[in-house]
Symmetry: D5
Subunit: 169 residues, 10 copies
């Protein structure tokens, strides 16, 4: 049986009502079950064998579920599979509309600020290391880790994307 709450002791993340008009119909169903069973993304991720961020992205309608994901989600969240199948979960996400940019949420704004401040620095370093191209945000994965040292607690986000060189034509 799935673990109650988060391993950190913090409350679980739930869905704010005012965000609903920006999300697919699967989101309120998934979040309601998550809240009712008091499950963390970590626990759910483990139950569906996906990463934590990808799991959260599924909840926010920003990632596609497979048949197996549906089965696993149904089990861990105690939702009838048929109810999940009626939503957009198995179809193609309409990504990017959950947030207005610039993001007003302070946590998300910090990531935006990193792009704003270091954007050209990243581009310069990446161009010199890899050539003329981009880091893919599609052929891509990411994770969040916690580090502790004597200076405090650190959030470490890793972004890993395929290198795609511009085609010469």
């Amino acid at each position: 049986m799935a673990q109650n709450g988060t391993s950190s002791g913090h409350p679980i993340a739930t869905l704010e009502a005012s965000l609903l008009p920006r999300l697919p119909s699967s989101s309120p169903i998934l979040f309601a079950a998550k809240k009712s069973k008091n499950l963390s993304f970590e626990t759910i991720a483990s139950a569906i064998s996906r990463s934590e961020v990808a799991t959260a992205a599924l909840f926010y309608g920003q990632a596609q579920a497979t048949e197996e994901d549906i089965a696993n989600l149904a089990k861990v969240l105690d939702i009838p599979e048929s109810k999940l199948r009626e939503t957009e979960l198995l179809s193609f996400p309409d990504r990017g509309r959950s947030i207005d940019m610039p993001p007003r949420e302070p946590m998300i704004y910090r990531l935006y600020e990193i792009v704003q401040n270091y954007g050209y620095a990243f581009k310069g370093v990446i161009n010199e290391k890899f050539g003329d191209g981009i880091m893919s945000a599609i052929s891509f994965s990411t994770k969040v880790e916690k580090e502790e040292d004597d200076k405090g607690t650190w959030v470490v986000i890793t972004l890993r994307g395929k290198w795609l060189p511009f085609t010469r034509f």
Copy 2:
């Protein structure tokens, strides 16, 4: 003597003229020397004992130099120290104005897209792991690495920021 060109064999990054009105007066001086001596950010970073991204950020006016940085930059770039001291390098950067958001440059846009698509997922996972707060973009460091596997070449960006919980008041 500093190594010529990049270790990857790609050209070095230079400064595009149309970006000039958005940058401090130090940027064209630094980039002109970088180009003339054909030095990579990697080489310069090593010469000034800072990370590659921080070094590039210095060139784009998004980071502060110390006295020692000035001395080292002057040496590796063959610029009189006094000329560097006349610029804004030692003072406080006016960050964030080098890029118009949303970024139009494809490489930088991909980072923006990651924030747009995964913003709430990052927030959800981070909140559950750390509580109510943010990852600092100030008490922060970042690096770019290259990985190769049988699926291709990968850009790996690590973002490491201090965890700051909201004050209860």
Copy 3:
């Protein structure tokens, strides 16, 4: 009887709930039937003798249906003709409001990025080939094709629009 699912084996496209306020009343009716009968745009396009993109545009309220289209759609989707006639399908589409620009959906953004990066290059080449004028987006058709070669799978989009020279007056 219409073929179940897509010929590619991928799921069919369905309608995301949060898009509804931007679409005409015909869209949820058409998509509900498409989902319930598990039909691809390819299958429906073939049943109504229109191109795939035009068929999808009908579903998103961006193209006008003829009487014959209504009859064919009613048949393939198993919807009473009268129900379709009550919608805006036969009238004049109010185009362009389904998407906020810049598009936040990564697939659609790539098309936008092509315009952003190559816009002036297209204009320069077209002006030299055709003179002073535009490629019509009205007297216009388009198609999507798949190509496979040893470098991978390719999406090929063809845009074909009438040449309209500026009137001299």
Copy 4:
């Protein structure tokens, strides 16, 4: 010796003064030579063995030149190689800033309008044909062709991009 003017008999494309602040320093040099020698993009493309659109993109600072491109451009445009090497041509383009979006130029706006009107239709059809992913605008090529039939003259633009599926993580 390069052919004078365009093969269509239309004037060649030149650079409008008011666009200069948005372009790299290579653009006015290339366009001045193009104008002075009255060369079309077609002629130049043929001289440097690149496609017409890629050649125009080089002129607008939206594509990277190789050493060989520099040599060929220098020859066909009668510009000293050293002068081209002083520009950003061999370095990494800072793409996407030549145009303000939405584009105000009528020819470029029509392409934007196609994305605005058919964006979701393209996404729907592509998702069903290819799955969850995007058409790359990086691993990408494009061309412009002219067709004539009894209904008039047609501009045909082909966009060909690599299919990139979203990574499951």
Copy 5:
């Protein structure tokens, strides 16, 4: 009895559901009756002795109705007068909110593009003909006509506004 359909044989214009939140409560009532009785703006305009464009503007909540208009609309549309009186029709329109600018609808965008491209040319010519002032959009009328010649079919829009000179003070 009012003529069924349009004199051109095209379908009548109806109201798209997604536009409703931008319109007064009179619009859905008027459009529902127009659709149910299959009446063109031409027919209704004739029945209420107003121009076609003004009639359509009434339907979209952009013009004020008189008592007589109400009586005539009630008759031709077969709506109880009292029902029309309950709406905003007799009061003062809250103009300009039916469209987001720039307009995304291709037909309306073309009018916007004319202003964008020829705005200063209109101003220059009008200033020289009339002096320092404006063409009123309030003391104003407009009409749409069709012309046919051997080059095709032409839409002719006439804008007629009172000349208002700037007051010298």
Copy 6:
């Protein structure tokens, strides 16, 4: 010899300095000559056999000149032809950038307001008269006329554009 001033007795239109960065290099040359010789657009239009609005559009860089236009402009404005040939006049205009939208100039704003207020009314009437399509702003001409009646002076602008039906595909 060209007539001095305008036939209306109003001053001629000249170029405001702050508009220069938005215009091609031909504009200040043309306007300087127009001012120095005190010529109206009416006089110049007559000398180059084009309409007044098209002539003003040439001055604002929003229309293309032919070889004959150049010869005529050179003559009426007393500018060496070679000087005009060095500008963008014979090439392809980069239209639409002379004005920021919404226009802040009161005269031009009134045209914008007409689109904002009557946009859907025009679309509705045009759709019923012509079907599903647009009025071309490319295969297009326009003129400005003055009418006087007992209610005052009226500006009459006629917009005449080719009807373009949407292609069925």
Copy 7:
């Protein structure tokens, strides 16, 4: 008993449905009663001993009501006081959200245009007359008057605000 209709013979102002989501819950209640009893702002203002503009501002949720206003409004509008007390009328208005700026309504736009055209002229004259500071929009009143002369009818709006000098610190 309150006078029916307006003293000018024009219809009374009512509330447009599409404005509702921008207004407090008191607005539809007040406007419904105003419409039902056919009362002008002039009549209501007189009944509640406030100015006409302040009265209209109360209806649009842009001014605070006192206990006495509630009693008077209840009486003149025939609404139970308790019903008015349940609304936001006695609390603190959340001003400024009823209009999107720039205003699209032509009457309101004219006021905006006056600020746009004469803003710096007002500032220059006010600075010279009063020093460095502002005219308060808070310690402020305004009124609308009608003047007739042989040139026509004039709207006269008076804005009267306290002079606030910048503090020297």
Copy 8:
């Protein structure tokens, strides 16, 4: 001889350098003379027999000068008439571009805030007093006055514009 300084004892208004790119070439000439001779708008207005606000609008390029204004301005400001004639003063102002909206200047913002807060209240009251139409901002004059009472000093701005009813057509 013109009075030195302002009658209020406050400094005169001068031109801020950063505003120059938004103004016609006449503005720096007029303001330089105003500063050099230390003249207030009040003094200049009196010398040219125009109102203070109109005089300031002339200086900011937002009003047209007559031949007589030129003569008077030349005299009071001690500028050769010919120098003023070379500017745009006698031609048609390109109004509205001196300020970015929303205005950031606190004094001008207060006027904007009045429109934002009381816009609908003004419209409602004006509609009831005058009918369906607008207060002209063209056939318009305005003045600034100072009032003192025991509550302090008051700025009184009067806006007086012609009433223009919407044409019924």
Copy 9:
């Protein structure tokens, strides 16, 4: 028992209906109880041992509640704890979406104006006092106080945030 009304004698703050779509589901519940019991933020803050501003932020969904806050809120507001637990109160706030920026509310705009006018002055002074870094808005508290002196009544807002120096990396 909690004190009725505010200690200042002013009405209590309540929730404006039009703000609801921007707030979490807890806000209408909390504000309804606050209104029904006529409690000020001061009274509630005292009952839950938090500061007034933090308490108001809880009501607007901009701060996180602890278990103890829930218990205290339930008691002072007479709401069942379970009802509060069903809301987002214990979870992580989605901050920043309650206000559109620039704020249109005059009181909130004044704070925005302070940032706009004094932003660089604050930065300059803070940089010189503290070095290169920021004042945290997360590790942060704030309070509002009233001061009276012979010049009037003063609002004093104190912002207290942790100093965070930029990491050197």
Copy 10:
């Protein structure tokens, strides 16, 4: 003689070149002298008997100088008084244009974020304490202080503005 550098040991604040087009002509003069003499705002503020923030605001063109300020600035900065008198320092500042909002500079953004997150909380608390009105940003002063405690270093900003109640009219 004025103290060299800052009392904190941090470098002094200087002017970034890219900010120049947004500032009055006095700013580069003042900052050049400040840099050349290595003076902090604290030292200069003390020399001119104004607060640090007001002094910095003078340097950024956001505050007005008196005759005495000019004399003191000239002395401490070693600039001829006449040179300062030629600038806008004694005239009326054109405030608010030094920063684009939202601010991109991280330090200034934090202040903006405080308004964004706590705006309604401030309004609610202030309304209950003071009534319906605003805190003036004109009759206003502010200061920055440093506090140290065992949790670290704190920036304390105090905003003190006059309370202005809305006029009842």
